[in-house]
Amino acid sequence: MARYLARRLGQAALVVAGVIALTFVVTRLVPGDPAVAYAGPKASPAELAAARARFGLDDSVPAQLLAYVRDLLSGDWGTSLHTRRPVALDLATAFPASLELVGAALLAAVVIGVPVGGLAARHRGRGPDLGVRVCSVLAVSVPVFWLALAVQTVFASNLGWFPVAGEYDNALDATSPLHVYTNITVVDAAITGNWPMLTSTLSHLVLPALVVAAYPAGLIAQMTRAALIEEAGHDHARMARALGFGETAVLTRFALRPALNPVLSLIALVFAYSVVNGFLVEAVFNWPGLGRYAADSIRSLDTPAIAGVTLLVALLYVLANLVVDLFQGVIDPRARAR
């Protein structure tokens, strides 16, 4: 186990190094002068020179890479061109809200996707299966930016069931001020027992979380269905049938747990993907997360900010994969033996 862990960590470190190098390369591909982008259209030559010096643009490329790595390690992720603040600070501000949104979305995706996938597997080849397959493929095929607009217009604006946008009702900052511990509003509201804030945040969370959940829910449903069907074809499932268990029991009590393993790896993959999908959703719902930050950065072509977001999401992805690999042992005892 220790050797496996060491190897896995070594692998992760290698990937992180590669990710940093690749991000660096991407940021250096920018045509034109990044200093101009920073100093602004009306900058004087002196300001430009200062900006060039500030970003070390006059150094050699290896020196720049080295400086880049050194800065990253010391927490300096560059300065955003459009907020003019350290990118690391911007990311730290935006990330908890993204975590909140994507966490809720993934929770919804699992809660919807697993039972629905199970339903399809149970009634394989019949009506419910076809229905689930159509819906799950639709969910992974729908362009989220379009879905976000549609859902907001219908459920928030026309029907008025949910708030149009935002993370919580702002008036609550005066009437029920929130004490922040984790910066994740739902969590803070829950642990401090701030019910008005909690209910407000939850109702604001529903629409964006469901939109972000569409893709992972579809994927999870498909994966659960496939994994359950595969697992149900294994000898141990036949054995369970031969022991007198019905099909539903075979699926839920015997096939489900081993089948969750690929589903769990999928969640790690989909976590990072959902953060990126959030780029297209958060802007529509005013969700103050990484996605809105990234969308603003893209609109203003803010390379350092985009590089920061890219790096952060890639690191998250590596981390999520690592965590899932280690957690797989909890779900599947076979994995522990590796």
């Binding site: 692998q11 290698l14 990937v15 590669g18 990710v19 190098a21 690749l22 991000t23 991407v26 940021t27 591909l29 920018v30 045509p31 394989r124 076809l130 397959r133 159509v134 493929v137 639709l138 992974v140 095929s141 729908v142 362009p143 989220v144 930016f145 379009w146 607009l149 549609a150 217009t153 604006s157 498909q222 496939a226 069907i229 595969e230 074809g233 990072a272 993907y273 953060v275 990126v276 999908n277 780029f279 297209l280 969308a295 893209i298 609109r299 072509l301 390379t303 985009i306 590089a307 977001v309 890219t310 999401v313 890639a314 992805y317 590596v318």
Partner: protein, 290 residues
């Protein structure tokens, strides 16, 4: 167990698939229709000029009706015509990305899987790095720093997509390479390129094909998202993501401008995905439900 002899030609398989899996058959038919629409756009579009540089500001934002089934956009172009022409752009992007990614990925994968050793390690670690980025993210970062164009979209997406093919081929190549007859062939002095062409590539073909059809939908969606963010195709090119972007502020007032291209993306991605799923279920022995 009920294993069947699987000596069928790919075409027969497609036929079997259509019978066995109605959904995949629907996907196939829809996809064929979309390809036809793309190829025939200049002839079947009601206003072929609107797919290109023409504009009619006086007829802007007419709702769907007899003259314009899908209405007109901000500069008076027929939305139906642009959706049809958009199919060309989207399918071109998808095809180009998949060809580039598959060729590069398969080549590297074969080398990695067949040669093994350090070559495999290096190539696999590189794919690890690329796979650490969600596809849309890396494409997005690349597209931001490059100039927006259809070519940029192709490059940006292909760069993020090839590792899948490399991994897929590497694992097939590695398993083929371990088979006895390959060892025998190698001992007999059959040159490596010949072994690769005769044995490794044909064995990789099926999983690669399945992956290609599965990826079609993902590429279309990613390309649309890039164009939506203003990083892809630009005027006067008709492209679905771009059309949604240009029409998105009109969603509550002139719904047709954004709804039809959005539906086009949805339908195409859906067709690719159901076809891919069906192919995977029927062609990929590892995933065949038993």
């Amino acid at each position: 167990m009920t294993t069947l002899a699987l000596r069928r030609t790919p075409l027969r398989r497609l036929g079997d698939l259509a019978r066995a899996d109605v959904l995949a058959a629907v996907g196939l038919v829809v996809l064929v229709l979309i390809v036809l629409a793309a190829l025939l756009a200049p002839w079947i579009a009601p206003y072929p000029d609107d797919g290109g540089a023409a504009t009619h500001p006086a007829e802007a934002l007419l709702p769907p009706g007899g003259d314009h089934w899908f209405g007109t956009d901000q500069v008076g172009r027929d939305v139906l015509s642009r959706v049809l022409f958009g199919a060309r752009t989207s399918l071109f992007i998808a095809a180009a990305v998949l060809v580039v990614a598959a060729v590069a990925g398969v080549a590297l994968g074969v080398v990695a899987g067949y040669a093994g050793g350090w070559a495999r390690d290096v190539i696999m670690r590189i794919t690890d790095v690329f796979l650490a980025f969600p596809a849309l993210l890396l494409s997005l970062a690349l597209a931001v720093v490059l100039q927006p164009s259809v070519t940029t979209v192709v490059v940006a997406i292909a760069v993020t997509w090839w590792p899948w093919y490399a991994r897929l081929t590497a694992s097939v190549a590695a398993s083929v390479g371990r088979r006895g007859y390959i060892d025998a062939a190698r001992c007999l002095g059959v040159p490596a390129p010949l072994i690769i062409v005769r044995h490794v590539l044909p064995n990789s073909l099926t999983p690669v094909l399945v992956q290609l059809s599965l990826d079609g939908g993902g590429v279309i969606l990613t390309a649309a998202a890039l164009s939506y963010l203003g990083l892809g195709a630009h005027e006067p090119t008709a492209e679905w993501g771009l059309m949604v972007e240009q029409g998105q502020t009109l969603f509550t007032t002139d719904w047709w401008v954004v709804t039809f291209p959005g539906l086009a993306i949805l339908v195409t991605a859906f067709a690719f995905n159901v076809l891919g799923e069906g192919l995977r279920a029927s062609l990929d022995p590892h995933r065949r439900p038993r």
